[in-house]
C-alpha cells in the first residue's frame, strides 16, 4: 500500500490557493516545469513558422483526449499568476466543458477568471472566436481535434507532411472545385481551410467559417493545441490569413434572416434553439458574454425578456 499512502496525488479534495498556487501535490497549473518548457519551445517554433504544425510531446492530462487536452496544455504552459482566464465552448462561458476547464485552472493555478472578453489575458476556446474584436496582448488558445487540414483527403501523416513541405495543396483546391461542380457551393461550413501568411495550409479548428475573417490581421496571438494528435501551431498577431476560394466563387460566411431573440444583434453567429415539436425555433447569440453585454447596454431582441433558465441540475 506504500504507493498509495506515500502519494499526495489523487483525490478531489483541497482546492488551489496554497503557497505554490497549485493543488495538493501538483505544480502550478498542473504540468511540471520541464513539460511546460518543452511546450513553450514548441510554441516559439510555431510562432516563428506561422501555420506550421509542430510535433510536441503531448502529456496525458487528467481530462480525456477530445475534451481540450491540447488547449489545456498550451494554456497551462503560458499562464502566470497575474493572468485572467476566460474559457468558452460553443461561444458560451457556461457550457459544461468550459465550466470544467475553468475549474481545473482555478483549482490547479488559483488564477482569476472572467466572462468578459475584454478583461481576459488568455481566452481558451472550443469552436468559436468571440464576437468582440480581440486586443493586442491577448492570447486566444484554440482546442483542436484534427490539426491537419488535409486529413480527410489524405489519411497518412507521412504523405501530408510531404505535401506541406512542398506547399503542394492541389488536392484541396480540387476538392473545393468538385464541391462547386456538384453543389454549386463549397460544401464546408466549419473548419474551413485557411492559408496562413501565404504559406501553410492550416486548419482553423472547427470554428464556423463565419469566424474565419476574424483570424486575419488579428491583433491577438492565436495558439492552437491538439493534444491527442500531439501538434501545436500558431498565428502571430497581424498575420495574413486567407480562406481558400476562387475568383468566381469568393469565400462567404453564414447569414441568417433572423436576429438574436434576446439582444437583437444582426451581425453575430446564432444558435438555433428548438422550442416545440412543430418546427418553432428561436435564434440566440452563440457568444453569451457578447449577448449579455449588449443586453446590459439596453439592446433588446424580439424575445428579449425571456430569462435563460438552466440545464437541469
Amino acid at each position: 500500500m506504500n504507493a498509495i499512502e506515500n502519494t499526495n496525488h489523487g483525490g478531489n479534495g483541497g482546492h488551489g490557493g496554497n503557497g505554490a498556487g497549485g493543488h495538493g501535490g501538483y505544480n502550478f497549473a498542473y504540468l511540471d516545469e520541464q513539460s511546460k518548457r518543452m511546450i513553450r519551445r514548441a510554441i516559439l517554433k510555431a510562432v516563428a513558422i506561422p501555420g506550421y504544425q509542430v510535433p510536441f510531446g503531448s502529456r496525458e492530462m487528467p481530462l480525456p483526449y477530445g475534451w481540450g487536452t491540447g488547449g489545456i496544455q498550451v494554456t497551462a504552459s503560458i499562464i502566470g499568476r497575474d493572468d485572467v482566464l476566460k474559457v468558452i465552448d460553443q461561444g458560451a462561458d457556461d457550457t459544461t466543458n468550459a465550466v470544467s476547464i475553468r475549474k481545473f485552472f482555478v483549482r490547479t493555478a488559483g488564477i482569476a477568471t472572467t466572462e468578459e472578453t475584454g478583461q481576459a489575458t488568455i481566452i481558451q476556446t472550443r469552436h468559436r472566436i468571440p464576437e468582440q474584436s480581440l486586443l493586442p496582448g491577448q492570447i486566444l488558445v484554440y482546442q483542436v481535434p484534427i490539426p491537419e487540414p488535409l486529413r480527410w483527403l489524405e489519411a497518412r501523416e507521412t504523405e501530408t507532411r510531404k505535401m506541406h513541405g512542398l506547399a503542394d495543396y492541389g488536392i484541396m483546391h480540387v476538392k473545393l472545385y468538385e464541391d462547386i461542380a456538384k453543389y454549386g457551393h463549397i460544401e464546408t461550413s466549419y473548419d474551413y481551410p485557411v492559408r496562413v501568411n501565404g504559406r501553410y495550409l492550416t486548419a482553423p479548428s472547427p470554428i464556423p467559417k463565419f469566424d474565419n475573417p476574424k483570424m486575419n490581421d488579428m491583433p491577438a496571438l492565436q495558439l492552437f493545441g491538439a493534444g491527442r494528435e500531439k501538434r501545436i501551431y500558431a498565428i502571430p498577431p497581424h498575420t495574413r490569413v486567407e480562406s481558400l476560394d476562387f475568383d468566381d466563387h469568393p469565400f462567404e460566411v453564414q447569414t441568417w434572416s433572423e436576429v438574436c431573440a434576446l439582444c437583437g444583434a444582426d451581425d453575430t453567429y446564432l444558435d438555433e434553439v428548438i422550442m416545440d415539436d412543430r418546427g418553432t425555433s428561436m435564434f440566440v447569440c452563440s457568444d453569451t458574454a457578447h449577448c449579455a453585454e449588449r443586453r446590459a447596454a439596453g439592446h433588446r431582441g424580439p424575445d428579449g425578456d425571456a430569462a435563460p433558465t438552466g440545464l437541469v441540475p
Binding site: 504507493a3 510531446g57 483526449y65 457556461d94 501523416e157 473548419d191 434553439v273 440545464l311
Partner: protein, 371 residues
Amino acid sequence: MYVAVKGGEKAIDNAHRLLAEARRGDPETPELTLDQIREQLGLAVDRVMGEGSVYDADLAALAIKQACGDLVEAIFLLRAFRATLPRLAESQPLDTARMTIRRRISATFKDLPGGQVLGPTFDYTHRLLDFDLARPAEAPPGSAQDHGQAPDQPSPKDESMPRVTDLLADQDLIEREVPGDPHGPVADLTREPLAFPAGRDLRLQNLARGDEGFLLALGYSSQRGYGRTHPFAGEIRMGEVAVEIVPEELGFPIVIGEITVTECQMVNQFAGSATVPPRFTRGYGLVFGASERKAMAMALVDRSLRARELGEDIVAPAQDEEFVLYHSDNVEAQGFVQHLKLPHYVDFQGELVLVRGLREEALARRKGAAE
C-alpha cells in the same frame, strides 16, 4: 421556456455525486477492498497495469475500484497519474531467460530443456459455470478438502530455461536478434510524439500499451488471410523477472525489484531473399502480468508490422504501421470517440444553414423544371 446551459457547474457537481452513489451500489453489500481486487481480480489488475503502463498493483486496484470496473477508464486514470511521475532511470534490458517460471509452453517442440510447465491457465478448463463459486468457499482453495489433493506441480520453476528461439538460433534456423546498443537512447512515445518510420523499440512500446481488443482483432485478421505471416507459438512464458538499473554513482547493475511478465515469441515463415537464405522470423510480445492473449496478439502484430523491413507486400491493415500505431491506444481512442457527446451545436448550425440553402435551391430548380 428558453433552456440555455446555465447551471452547468451545479449539474457537474450533481453528476459526480450520482456517480459516487452508483459506484458504491447497495450500501448493504460490503464495500470492496483494494486487497480483494488485487488478489481476486488479478487479471483485470494486470491489464490495467499493462495498458496504463505503471507496474503497481495497488494503484491499478484503486483505479479499477474508482472506475466501477470499467477497465479502459481505469487505464486512463492510471495513465493520467503516470504522466505526473518523474522518470528516474532507464532499466537494463530484462533477461527473460532468467525468469522464475510459473508457466512455459511451446507449441513447436514436444519437449525441450526445462520442460513444459502448464501453470495457472484457463486453457483446459471446461467453461461450465462453477456454482460452487457463487458462495464463499469454506476452506481455502487448493486444500485437500477442496479438490481431493493439492497441486503436485512444483512451482515456481527455477532451473535454466533457454528460450526456444535461442535454441533455433543456435542452428541458424531463425533470424538472429541482434541486441541494440545498451547505452543507446530508447524511444519513448510518452516523451516524443510518434514519428514514422517507427523503430522496433517505439513499435513494441506502442503495442505493449495498446488496447488488447484492438491488437486481438488485428492479430486475428492476420491469421485469416489479411497479411498472413504463418505463425507458430514458439514459446510463451510467464513468471517473475528482475528489473535492474545501473546507478551512475555505482556503475554496476543493482536489482530494484521483480515484476511479473508474459512473453510470447512467435516463429514465422520467411521464404528468404536474394541475400538471405530461408529461415524463420520472429514476432515478439511482452506484457505486464499474466496477459497471455495480449502477448500473443502483440507478437502477431509485431511480426505483421515487419512487412516493410522484410520486403513483404503491404496489403493488410495489420501490416500498416501508421494505421496500427496511430489507433492502438485506447486512452486516445476512447477520448476522441466519446468527445462526440460534447456540444457541437455551433458546427451543426453551420451545417443546418448549408443544408437548408442547398434544399431551397434544389426545390427551386425542380419547380422551375416543372413549370
